[in-house]
Symmetry: C2
Subunit: 381 residues, 2 copies
Amino acid sequence: MIGPVTLPPVDAEAMARTRHRLNQLTKPRDSLGELERLAVRLAGMTGQEAPAFARKAVIVMAADHGVSARGVSAYPPEVTAQMVANFLAGGAAVNALARQAHADVIVVDVGCFRRCTAGHGPAPGGPAGGPQAGSAANAFAASWEPGPSPRVRFSERRVRAGTEDMTQGPAMTREQAEQAWRAGAETVDELAREGVQLIALGDMGISNTTAASAVTAALTGLPPVDVTGRGTGLDPAGLARKIRTVEQALQVNDPDPQDALDVLGKVGGLELAALAGAAVAAAARRIPVVLDGFTVGAAALAATRVAPDLPHYLIAGHQSAEPGHGPVLRALGLRPLLHLDMRLGEASGAVLAFHLIDAATRVLTEMATFESAGVAQSAKG
Amino acid sequence: MIGPVTLPPVDAEAMARTRHRLNQLTKPRDSLGELERLAVRLAGMTGQEAPAFARKAVIVMAADHGVSARGVSAYPPEVTAQMVANFLAGGAAVNALARQAHADVIVVDVGCFRRCTAGHGPAPGGPAGGPQAGSAANAFAASWEPGPSPRVRFSERRVRAGTEDMTQGPAMTREQAEQAWRAGAETVDELAREGVQLIALGDMGISNTTAASAVTAALTGLPPVDVTGRGTGLDPAGLARKIRTVEQALQVNDPDPQDALDVLGKVGGLELAALAGAAVAAAARRIPVVLDGFTVGAAALAATRVAPDLPHYLIAGHQSAEPGHGPVLRALGLRPLLHLDMRLGEASGAVLAFHLIDAATRVLTEMATFESAGVAQSAKG
């Protein structure tokens, strides 16, 4: 059973040392704004005055949703497995962005409808006309940076073949939600053993913003109409259908807003439960977690019901275009680093934020101090 | 004389090809938000369907301001030259961020009070207790990336030893403003000949946000109180003094808001005029220009009086904390890429935006298409 988790407290002394260090550097006090606040937060998470994150990883949790039968996405559910194949071939947005950020990509099948394979081709018995290695992607695979990073890796941790339609009953059992949670935690534990120091969380699952809206409405008490959006590109009729679907799922299942596993099991999804487990496991090891958009945020908000101090270890990579994301970030008490109107998922916004995290840590270690550079301080300095 | 400049039109055909290409990639249409709009704009600027910017440079224009005698900055004017020495030693924020972005840094003395040198030490005859090579910075100089980039280079293009106090008369003559403008243009021309494809513009000059506020108020007609801020960290009394100083400078000089050189010469600064000239020169060569904060933005806004189509070639790197920056960006019609509450100058915010520009170009060249990856398109796709 997933019980309450007490996370290590953030290191207030390291934060004070980092703040002091920032104030010695050759710049007006606080003039790097969010980068300075980020540096101080990272010190609190890691316990290091000048943290560095040479080993970064991106986890993309993939799963399917029975509720996709309700027509709540602009894409057919086969696309989940097709995109997993695309991730493994290196041709998706997250691959391009992870290469730029020198981050490894770990794709986890927590429960797609059809079993994916670690190879570049379609799964045996996969859909006809299904995933093929993208030629463009393959061309680039050869040009990856040398050395151990970035790599792409597949991890099979299937709990079940997609969820049930949550408008007809629970998406899955509580036990299955716990199993998915543990799959997420184990993924993080494995990466931590390999020396990964910074983790971005992303999602892939056709129809999963419907689940994220239901989870957000359940946790915050906000009406579904306020936290349900166009996802990958629904038209107005599709959005109206999606809102009704969320309302129906909540009515049928009546999840307990204080019980993360109840919410995630009844109206969530396998990848959401895995993301929640991954976030808590990373925080328990003092590994900073960069959240992507709405789906990941909703999972993290659910996780706070198990580990209330989780937000101390979370960084909101960006503010997405989904209307439910703002309420989720406010509930988590997080300010997003980027505002680029993105709504792709896959951890794309989280990986972009890696550059800002690197910038914050470089400032701490590479800048001269007023004293070392012989620069006069402010009259008030 | 600096006359009206007709810039090359943006390449609408390249923009259409880039938009089409983006719509083939394995992601929901428009789901990368600002990154996609950025990719399309870059195509229009460069005329290339998939532009790439292997050679990037950061120009920091440095100069001093006679108005600093009015007590409008939290720092003494000697800091301009001290920070130039810090840039050349590699210890400033822009150095750390430029190393991260693999960009060269070119520091131009357009008119500091005291002549700077290209070496790491204080200028001969420089102030006692003046610039020293930062030991922290030197330690890092040894660990720079191999290859030709990033480097730091000094360029002496002094027009005069700082400006006059603009509350007593014009900061400089029109001829001097034109000379500074040309110094900026020549800096860009030199970099373009070396193959630089993307330029960030930044500033260093104690008291130059006072000049930027005066320029912004002159150009937009907004009252000084709306476009004058705390700069590097003024207290409320200092801010009130700064606002009165801007009001007085405008009253004494009465610059013509349609005449860039009149505004820049009377109430601007040598580095502002150089930044304006640099921006127009880059645009004339179809080199995208990434603007840093308020001072650079005010200079670019002045430059639009000479080259009205300049904003097509400008990218707003970030929205700074200075209250005048928003009005400047609105007048330029630009949406900033980053909102990090920064107010450092030195091109620090512009250089951070290089990562987003690289992300946009990587997406264009590295992602698989729906067809190549065998991913089903949206029902509406």
